[in-house]
């Protein structure tokens, strides 16, 4: 019983960490620009797929990973330059539609250049599973959790201790006031997209040895990351991490105890319930603005 539960918990937390990174990306961009970036999932996909491409081109794994993450960050900045900035002043609906368009372009181009197949690359430190209280744990899961924890800590330090991090927070809090004290909100926009693309790509890289990747994994991963971000109260960084882990665990538990066929439906049932009962997210303020 316990071993079964632990098994589901391990796999849930592992996938959940990826959702958490995606949700952090959503949160960053939402805070910087109030854009709900539906292309976030494509950054996750790019991380995995570009690493695969790099490895098959003969690059050593660490180099391929670094290049993939850097490339995703560049794509993130290109998105700002060519899709978000030209539409300055557009309303929320238009911006949502633009990011959906961007995600289609990125996915389509990846399909054309890297193919539609499913790929993977070897786990970072072997695939000999560890045994914990009767459950098995892949070493790659530890990598996923460890790196995610490190990234969250690093981001915490970045936002509370560095001037750039504080500039991003200030912009999120009040754009006009941030401009008045001399913060280039334009730079903040680029930085947020680059950072959130890199976060997404990192998640994609970490989880690929376990779940494999293909050009069309981005939609589902992105949408689930979005659910996680909303669960954490869109705009709340720590909430996003907790939301990601919750979505991952709920999904794994449902797959284990209820039905694996319906595991993908779990995050979306969660979001409906959330919108009905706690529209500000689990950690949002308990005030609902009524029309």
């Amino acid at each position: 019983m316990l071993s079964e539960f632990l098994q589901f918990l391990f796999s849930g937390v592992t996938v959940g960490a990826t959702y958490a990174l995606a949700a952090l990306g959503f949160t960053l961009i939402y805070n910087a620009s109030h854009v709900i970036n539906f292309a976030q999932g494509e950054f996750i996909m790019l991380g995995g797929m570009l690493t695969v491409a790099g490895v098959s081109a003969g690059l050593p794994l660490p180099v391929a990973i670094a290049l993939a993450i850097a490339a995703a960050a560049v794509v993130g900045m290109l998105v700002v330059r060519f899709a978000i900035q030209p539409a300055k002043g557009a309303d929320v609906v238009s911006l949502i539609i633009i990011t959906i368009g961007v995600s289609l372009v990125v996915r389509g181009l990846t399909q054309i250049s890297l193919g539609k197949g499913t790929h993977s690359f070897p786990a970072f430190s072997g695939s000999e599973p560890l045994h914990v209280l009767g459950a098995t744990l892949l070493p790659q899961s530890l990598w996923v959790l460890g790196v995610t924890a490190a990234v969250v800590a690093l981001l915490g330090w970045f936002f509370s201790r560095t001037l750039t991090g504080k500039a991003i927070l200030a912009t999120a809090y009040n754009r006009l006031a941030a401009q008045l004290v001399g913060i280039s909100t334009n730079k903040v926009l680029f930085l947020s997209f680059a950072l959130s693309a890199a976060l997404g790509a990192l998640g994609g890289v970490l989880v690929t040895p376990i779940t494999m990747t293909s050009a069309d994994v981005g939609i589902m991963l992105g949408l689930k990351g979005f659910v996680a971000a909303v669960l954490g109260g869109l705009g709340n960084g720590l909430g996003a991490v907790v939301g990601g882990l919750l979505v991952g665990v709920a999904e794994a538990m449902a797959a284990g105890y209820i039905s694996s066929a319906y595991k993908d439906a779990v995050p979306f049932v969660m979001i409906l319930f959330l919108l009905f009962f706690l529209p500000r997210g689990l950690f949002g303020a308990r005030v609902t603005e009524r029309v």
Binding site: V93, V105, V106, G108
Partner: protein
């Protein structure tokens, strides 16, 4: 003074009546019938997106619900197509009502998230319940016969859908000019202002959403009969995006725009058939470019340029 809507309706009817002269074969008829189906669907969605300012990212879910209600009830339960169609519409309407009631008490784009979730759940259910729906392999649907007249073949479907399109356009125009429609348009302009003049904002949004959901379901049922074979893709996320793209490209809050948007984007995959894989890229690029350069959409932008601002 607003212009009379009858010249436009007449021109459209005339165009649709003469169009068969330019259609050489069954394939072109097929493309046009698909355009007509999408046009009605998109007009319905436009009531919600363009007029009420609420975006639905799960509209294909309602289309799938109607399509599969028709397929399952006529195949497994031997229902007549009409009650099956009505049952699908009732189900879609009920679901829309259940979702919209709590959502529309809130301000902002929460409907986007809710419809997104709902649409994906419907698609997953359709894909998984293989015993009823055939799962990913799909299922066949019988043809539609109305009072002893069997609707089969592209030409009969063309006639039927052409009449239905003109009728739908007329109904939508009427609806949007009615007190109901004025209230809906007002709340897109300013919710506070409409509230001040006594419009129950939440209730109107719910009503529009339920209406478009039921319309989508009916069009799904018709699609099922026309195509004769259903796969879960009809309810999928990409189909929802396609529908939103048609609304946006044609022009938000422009009913003629919806027809144009549906025509352009239904023909696009046919034109790109030789360039496999570029379809997704083209859809995405069109979405981005339209929102940046013609945020009001094709028809309103052109109409403004040629000085026909209503």
């Amino acid at each position: 003074m607003r212009r009379s809507r009858y010249p436009g309706l007449l021109a459209l009817s005339l165009f649709l009546a003469l169009l068969p002269l330019a259609l050489p074969n069954a394939y072109t008829y097929d493309v046009v019938v698909r355009i007509l189906i999408n046009a009605i669907l998109v007009m319905g969605l436009n009531l919600l997106v363009g007029f009420a300012g609420q975006i639905s990212l799960g509209h294909a879910g309602f289309v799938g619900m109607g399509a599969y209600s028709t397929a399952v009830l006529t195949t497994h339960a031997n229902w007549h197509p009409l009650p099956a169609m009505a049952a699908g519409a009732a189900l879609a309407g009920f679901l829309a009502l259940m979702v919209a009631r709590p959502i529309f008490r809130l301000k902002g784009q929460y409907l986007t998230m809710a419809t997104l979730g709902l649409g994906i759940i419907i698609a997953i259910v359709i894909g998984n319940e293989s015993a009823w729906t055939g799962g990913p392999d799909g299922m066949p649907v019988s043809s539609l016969s109305l009072v002893g007249f069997e609707l089969s073949g592209e030409k009969r479907w063309y006639g039927f859908m052409a009449v239905l399109l003109v009728f739908s356009l007329w109904s939508c125009q009427n609806l949007m000019d009615s007190p109901f429609g004025r209230a809906v348009r007002a709340l897109h302009g300013s919710e506070v202002a409409s509230q001040v003049v006594g419009v129950n904002v939440g209730r109107y949004k719910v009503a529009v959403f339920v209406l478009t959901a039921m319309l989508a379901s009916v069009m799904g049922s018709l699609t099922a009969h026309y195509v004769g074979f259903l796969t879960p893709g009809v309810a999928g996320f990409f189909h929802s995006i396609e529908l939103v793209t048609m609304v946006v490209v044609g022009g938000m809050a422009s009913l003629y725009g919806s027809i144009v948007g549906a025509a352009l984007l239904t023909m696009l995959p046919q034109l790109l058939a030789t360039l496999e894989g570029w379809e997704t890229v083209a859809f995405g690029a069109i979405l981005v470019f339209t929102m940046i350069f013609m945020p009001r959409g094709l028809v309103p932008t052109l109409a403004a340029r040629f000085g026909r601002t209503r």
